[in-house]
Symmetry: C2
Subunit: 352 residues, 2 copies
């Protein structure tokens, strides 16, 4: 088994708890029955509660990874007369833009940098648009946007607010009602700390009304909404990950809810940032999520550090590709992480 | 955990071996590196060997369930000038037809029953077609088609031969060269006996040449073929299932290869069919795969038997829906199954 004894600080997959892993070693049960329906309905209701979704909201469970969440939202929620403002502040914003282009949707690309969108009023012209699309945490560079400012803006301009929360759910605050969010995309292998392979799309009633008739079967929200009423999916779901999700959501509730989960991530992120203060690193952006810290080494190649951490210290942090390859690397604070894990990484960074 | 102590005879999920389950309890490693690339390349080469694929064949690894395999093949391999003969002998044939319809492909639906296509020459007119699509095992009713006859026919008529082998790979013979097959669809939770969530599409060079430019990102074969050269996928793969796949394929090789695996399934199927001979059941079709037996109770409702097996005997067999609800139920022989498992089921069937 590869990398079993490595410390994992990558933003997905993240470290999982022993309880969740134990479920991975159970036989997969048959799922076209009431027992499994109960599991899926439990997952839906717990997720909606954690997001403070309004009454009538629903969850679509896709057996697929995060990009399928982005793609399916573009396919299902943007009709011929819709027009979207799409925030592009990095690789995942770029992906939304590219999807809108491929599917010939009406959209305006909004390239941004050096802002968390607190100044959103001055940046975009929403007069011809009815939809807003953003990656709440642009994971490619570790940049968090201001969901409150976005919510105020989308409410004022009557925009359907679609938020990719894949790498900030459970570590940074997101509240569908407070932040005026209509659709949220989640994935299993980030803050939820489950194996990759499950992506969820949450729709409030306004977003449900937007769902289009589309060619795709596998990503057809109408069929998922229909079968989901009885706790089933149109096609074989990733049963094991869904059983792990149910256990994980129960654990979050037992531990005190989403605020406890966010507080823990915040403490870990702040602890890490404090501990490396004296070292030769800059923070890449001032708008850091609790989920992750992106570091710019002052005197070394980022990629060299990533490789040294892996080969000499058995610690996996996340490199960047392309133009940022030697400039930044990323350290996740998501998953079943504690201060001792961080101490190991800080110790290694001090030795490099 | 639901149904942990149940005997599972459903055609997916199937019973997994302890070795495979143990991998499900390991931390998911980071995957954008050479170590994981080696795993994926190993899986590709082992799968191609098991299928006796010709040189230059490739495997596309989709994090998705089986329908995504069917859908992606229709999307990627059927261009505007192509025209497919689509065999429809049940629910999964129907699904291919429905996909061709949704994507506005040129196709002819070939409804069949009471034949394993040994008489294929007399059934279809291939003169206007260049593609043939079939579910080798129509799992909805447990009906196996004759891949040799299909191969001879598609070769003679120069048809691209696309075979859904999801529920017959490793239990019934399939050989891409001997059977003149150009594309094969596989899924994790059938004969491979892994958790659901991974679907594979195998393409020989002729099928690779057919790959179209399509709108979809998540199902874009060109991107998978490109990234697959270095053992990677365009989007986060279901890492854990792929690690389980690597172990499973190594085990099959160690045990003597695909012929041993097929022989074992055949023995189990024949044993089960012999053991229930005296009971009040008919076989639904004479063209039975080794993967599964479909039974028609002579004097009882099939659904009543399914429920009694579950509630009184903790044994899960697979019911049918719709018109066949009371007529048939299905017993899988796939997965980590032995004669003792079958004895339990036969004993229960005798008591009903």
């Amino acid at each position: 088994m590869i990398y079993e004894d490595y410390g994992v600080f990558t933003p997905g997959p993240v470290k999982m708890s022993d309880d969740i892993l134990a479920i991975g070693a159970k036989q997969t049960p048959y799922f076209r029955n009431e027992e499994f329906s109960k599991v899926l309905l439990n997952c839906e209701s717990d997720l909606l509660q954690l997001l403070n979704a309004p009454n009538g909201s629903r969850v679509i469970f896709l057996t697929a990874s995060g990009t399928a969440g982005l793609e399916s939202v573009v396919m299902n929620l943007l009709g011929k007369t819709d027009n979207a403002l799409v925030v592009n502040g990095g690789g995942f914003g770029e992906r939304f833009v590219s999807l809108c282009q491929s599917y010939e949707k009406n959209y305006t690309e909004c390239k941004v940098s050096q802002t968390d969108l607190t100044d959103i009023e001055t940046l975009f012209d929403a007069s011809k648009h009815n939809t807003f699309i953003v990656n709440a945490h642009e994971t490619s560079v570790g940049h968090l946007y201001n969901l409150e400012a976005i919510g105020t803006y989308t409410k004022k301009n009557n925009l359907l607010n679609i938020v990719d929360a894949i790498s900030m759910f459970l570590t940074d605050e997101i509240d569908m009602q407070k932040h005026n969010i209509d659709s949220v995309i989640l994935s299993s292998q980030k803050g939820l700390a489950l194996p990759p392979g499950l992506t969820m799309v949450v729709l409030n009633p306004k977003a449900i009304e937007r769902v289009q008739d589309i060619q795709s079967h596998y990503f057809n929200f109408k069929n998922y909404l229909r079968d989901g009423l009885r706790g089933q999916t149109p096609y074989t779901p990733c049963v094991t990950i869904i059983l792990q999700l149910e256990a994980r959501l129960a654990q979050i509730k037992k531990d005190g809810g989403i605020s406890v989960s966010i507080k823990k991530a915040k403490e870990l992120a702040e602890y890490f940032r404090e501990e490396i203060k004296e070292l030769e690193y800059d923070f890449f952006t001032p708008y850091m999520p609790n989920a992750m810290t992106t570091l710019t080494p002052k005197n070394k190649s980022a990629m060299d550090i990533v490789i040294e951490l892996e080969t000499k210290h058995k610690l996996m942090v996340c490199p960047n590709g392309g133009a940022l390859k030697d400039t930044i690397f990323r350290v996740s604070h998501m998953g079943d992480m504690n201060k001792k894990d961080i101490d190991k990484l800080v110790k290694a960074l001090k030795e490099i």
